[in-house]
Symmetry: C3
């Protein structure tokens, strides 16, 4: 370990020399542009507290479900990674032990995006001397821990180090946004903004729904006796979010269904849910109808609407019971966007003040459904390849699948969607590399001029995300 570990500057660019030259030129032109991170899962509380990160395991291992799932698949128990519900007996509490377990299994990550991101984190963010291994684990742990103890590695300082121009958190509809207000008072209000996520208050069949609606009443100051009261309370919360800088909403649903319910039927299911009596079928119907209501509100208040359907959460009940959510057992399922979104798009798809950003983890929908929809409906934009798909090869396939039919202008640019704070620069950097490779091919095949490719690269990094996520009161969609 006498030489410093360095990554190749051309990593993830195409291998063929003429493509690589072009790709490098395009990539270099956007490499250092600031990061616009409009969809993520970093907690506002973490940023507001601005405490040093506790340790390498808590920072890099435990909360990263990509990483956790790969170790679990290899037979490493969740507990050995410190993952478990409170009170689970086998949960490792020594972060150094957790870190060692990760390092010993480094070879498992060959060929995966976790490997790619983690190399960037370790070599570029922490400047460690060697890749993880059983031998290097303790040295790496100490190197990282030492850095984390310095002020330069506190969360807010890292926003500057990482070049993050703006970062959006994801927040419950009932949140008081106290941490955002706190940050705003300290001058961070323009850079750290909340996102309105109402999933918990629109699924009447989920455990805890009644308490969520109680919290909604309290947060909004509106007593919810009727469906109209409920909608008013949600409008109040959206205004609260907008007042605190929010630019978008986010919706994680099982399907893309947006069929409206009659208000009386919606009210019946809402009240049944408060009594703990809504069925699973009623819950999905209500949630579908609420997607349309949320779109209506977005067309009025200007919050960009983000939809993430098609994930079957917690596929393994035993793991959910022992370890909780977000531990690697969420699995994609097919989604019917074309029929599901038809009610919403029939009513609002050409509304000049709605921006609906669609995500998927089913690649088959890119060319069959999402590019055709985004390529004609003014309100629809196609989000970045998400979750299982934000990888070198899947991001390339995304461009190849959607550009023909949706162009670049109907896409939003990259979002990182991550809980892993330190991986944010690596993820954006990788997206810039992959897009540069794609643009290089268009240039090399004489399908696009190099000047246009350079302009498009900037569009993908800056112009398009800014246009997709404007401040909520800036209504009207600018034609690019």
């Amino acid at each position: 370990m006498t030489t410093h570990w360095t990554l190749h500057p051309d990593r993830a660019l195409p291998a063929e020399p003429s493509l690589r030259r072009l790709a490098r030129e395009i990539y270099d032109s956007v490499r250092d542009l600031p990061i616009i991170s409009m969809h993520g899962h970093v907690e506002a509380e973490l940023l507001a507290a601005n405490e040093p990160f506790p340790d390498p395991a808590e920072l890099l291992v435990r909360p990263d479900h990509y990483l956790v799932r790969a170790l679990v698949a290899a037979g490493v128990p969740h507990g050995a990674l410190g993952v478990g519900r409170p009170g689970t007996p086998d949960v490792e509490t020594d972060p150094r032990e957790i870190w060692r377990t990760f390092c010993e299994h480094w070879r498992l990550f060959r060929g995966t995006p976790t490997r790619y991101w983690m190399e960037d984190v370790l070599a570029e963010r922490f400047g460690v001397d060697a890749p993880p291994s059983a031998e290097s684990a303790d040295v790496l742990y100490d190197e990282i821990a030492a850095r984390l103890a310095t002020d330069a590695y506190r969360p807010l300082a890292l926003l500057d180090t990482f070049g993050i121009e703006i970062i959006a958190t994801t927040d419950a509809a009932t949140s008081d946004l106290r941490h955002h207000r706190d940050l705003a008072e300290r001058g961070w209000g323009e850079r750290i903004v909340p996102t309105f996520r109402p999933d918990a208050v629109v699924h009447p069949g989920r455990p805890g729904f009644a308490a969520e609606v109680d919290a909604l009443e309290e947060a909004s100051g509106i007593a919810i006796g009727t469906y109209g009261d409920y909608l008013d309370a949600l409008r109040q919360r959206r205004e609260h979010f907008i007042a605190n800088g929010a630019r978008a909403t986010d919706h994680g649903h099982l399907t893309a269904d947006t069929t409206p319910l009659e208000p009386a039927e919606a009210e019946r299911i809402l009240l049944a849910g408060r009594r703990g009596e809504a069925t699973q079928e009623e819950s999905l119907a209500f949630a579908a109808s609420m997607l349309l209501e949320m779109a209506r509100m977005s067309s009025e208040d200007g919050l960009t609407m983000q939809l993430h359907p098609g994930v079957l959460r917690d596929h393994h009940p035993g793991t959910f019971a022992a370890r909780g959510a977000d531990v690697g057992f969420d699995i994609p399922v097919p989604v019917d966007y074309v029929n599901g979104l038809r009610p919403l798009l029939s009513e609002l798809g050409t509304h000049p003040d709605l921006r609906l950003v669609l995500f998927t983890i089913d690649e088959t929908t890119f060319s069959r459904e999402l590019a055709p929809l985004a390529g004609v409906y003014p309100a629809v934009r196609l989000g970045a390849p998400w979750w299982f798909l934000d990888t070198p090869d899947a991001m390339r396939r995304y461009r190849e699948a959607v550009t023909d039919t949706a162009g670049f202008a109907n896409t939003t640019g990259f979002v990182d969607d991550t809980r892993a704070f330190f991986s944010i620069p690596a993820r954006h950097d990788l997206a810039r590399r992959v897009d540069a490779g794609y643009l290089a091919r268009l240039v090399a095949e004489h399908r696009l001029g190099l000047d246009e490719a350079l302009e498009t690269a900037v569009d993908l990094v800056q112009t398009l995300p800014r246009a997709a996520y404007p401040p909520a009161r800036a209504l009207g969609r600018p034609v690019p």
Copy 2:
């Protein structure tokens, strides 16, 4: 604008030098072969009238739904492009204004096939001096308009200029084919042939069905009292088409279902349809059953049968009401070919005189369903990548997805399927380039000899389309 705008001769060929050398050699060998255009939407009336095209907007913008949809997605109203039902107040009528709107948005098309085709049209067909832009719009308009006023740019002259050996139009089952007869009398009967499209008379639930069946009675001279009469009337129309040179039928259905109805049930739905009382479900069941009837007739009269399922037409009802059909809001939906076609293929899939050409706009079916079906059923051939899929990248994916299982011999070669007359040479040229690139890779990876690749390139351009669409009386499938 002092230098002429030229396109790179190697556009859309692979970038890697050794592949490009091979691809260029293969492409050069077929570049100038005549165009066989067996599926398109150019109107026979346009060809028979042989009048100059009215203006650049009417020629290149208004009827091109690829182009229109991209502008609509960017917030340009249909009206600004001259698209609207008669009487819609906002429809722009100045073609120069429409052309300017298009030119100002040229950058929207980056990375799309519309960009690729339009470059070819403007630079190669019209020899304009510069790409479209706000600045160049008027000059381009005048250059194109001046060309269109010359005899060399009349439709029939262009068939020679474009090297079109034969072009098939698409015609209603009730058409009297007067324009084809007119053209035949002037010696164009071998080069301009009709295609029998009975969609309007096989969907009893559609508005206007009763009038369509009345028209069928009148056109055929057969009073339709029973289901048998109805089939006889269709047979009469097919004979009329064959007598006027038709080689194929074409069927645009929502699904690929071919389940037969009992004749009594079919008659009941037919008569209900004439009374305007057929349900949507009955309509689809009748249409499915009619696909099987059409296949039976094709096995008897030798018309190649083309099936285009899986498009949900007019997804946005408001746009359909204000702007009509074919304005960009048709969206693909999944299709089950394997079960849907089973009744038809069980009865006729090995019939020596049936040729059934299958199309899709759902790429997932290429390797899972269509290549396996085309790769074993003698009657089935796989059509070209269609509509959203006739793009540089999607055409490459098509070859990569189907050749393993269906080879080349069970495909039909390229069809352009376009309303945009001037894009026909660009589309065929692009297909030849993409196929050359695919064949070059097989050669470079030592999976095919160069001599074989050169032969295959000619097969794709000439041998296979001729074999798939022979004159209707030439029954029996030649083994290639």
Copy 3:
């Protein structure tokens, strides 16, 4: 034909020179490693008899359904290839005529894997002088026939020639495994092992089910009066297989459903099936439930469980009636793995002693369902691309689609799954080439070190198949 026909040593490696250099180095490092063939359809009887293969047609044409289907699609009748049920009048019986028919149609196979494998067989295994053609057919026939008459071309000798370390046959649950015992007595027990395939005894709605259960009673020595007896009989058979060296079971089902039945309901359907009265729906429900039972047994006895769902067998009833099964008319259909497998995985997906290997012929499931499942469930491993997908391009797409989410460690390495004995080395060799090309790209894009790629190549050929198919009594999953 004066020069020997040689294949290019770099065939199926990437064309780009820097990738090819890397790929060749990686490929060279595994080219000569022994073949581990853990899933195939070579018959134990053929190996035990160790007679010379009868003739080129019987060896290379008649039983190869890839090859047969391509000729059938071109209009060659099954009979001309010697394919037909006993007594069918048109079945060609002269092997030389069958061979000629194949050779005359050689160009049909351009671009297909059959072409690739057959080139390898003819040039590398038989050393013939020229590719097949009408002219070369008789010479080739004689050359091959002469080789087949020598002792070096007897089946067991070829195991050595081909470098086959171990080969698994596929055997009915009721088999007495006499040929395996015979081989074991002659010292081949470690290299030729059976696979337990219970499909015929778990589908109560299939013709012949009653006789199959009778045979199960006889083979197991257990009278089957109850569902419990039936399970006991299956357990007995599994033990018999294990005692004869079996390492795995194999299950070919229409769907991936694993919903359990109540034992009383299972017994009712079982007994209905023995009376010939089980419906198709009951049959599928029983088979689904039995997948879960089989997984339970595998978690106890250590047989690796292989699942091959999603094939609609014998799509064309007329061909099935005249020609029998496995003659080219099996077609893929979509499969829902995520919901289908949920009962099984909820119960056993984290069981340390279960290994469930999943296969598909629907490529869309690789990134959407199978890689996410294999990438988290310890019991799940992702099988090789199968059947229509074991081709140069589809194998490359497989790695690109699954590695991001499942890595290499959750895959099993290649299985050939073939009836075509002579194609076994070609198929494994091709898989090694394609994987080398994929690994070369990772190295060239600086996503993996060359040393790691070399190690991974060996993992794919040796480490992973050995870990996925250990001797059945070696329970517990080693963490790689």
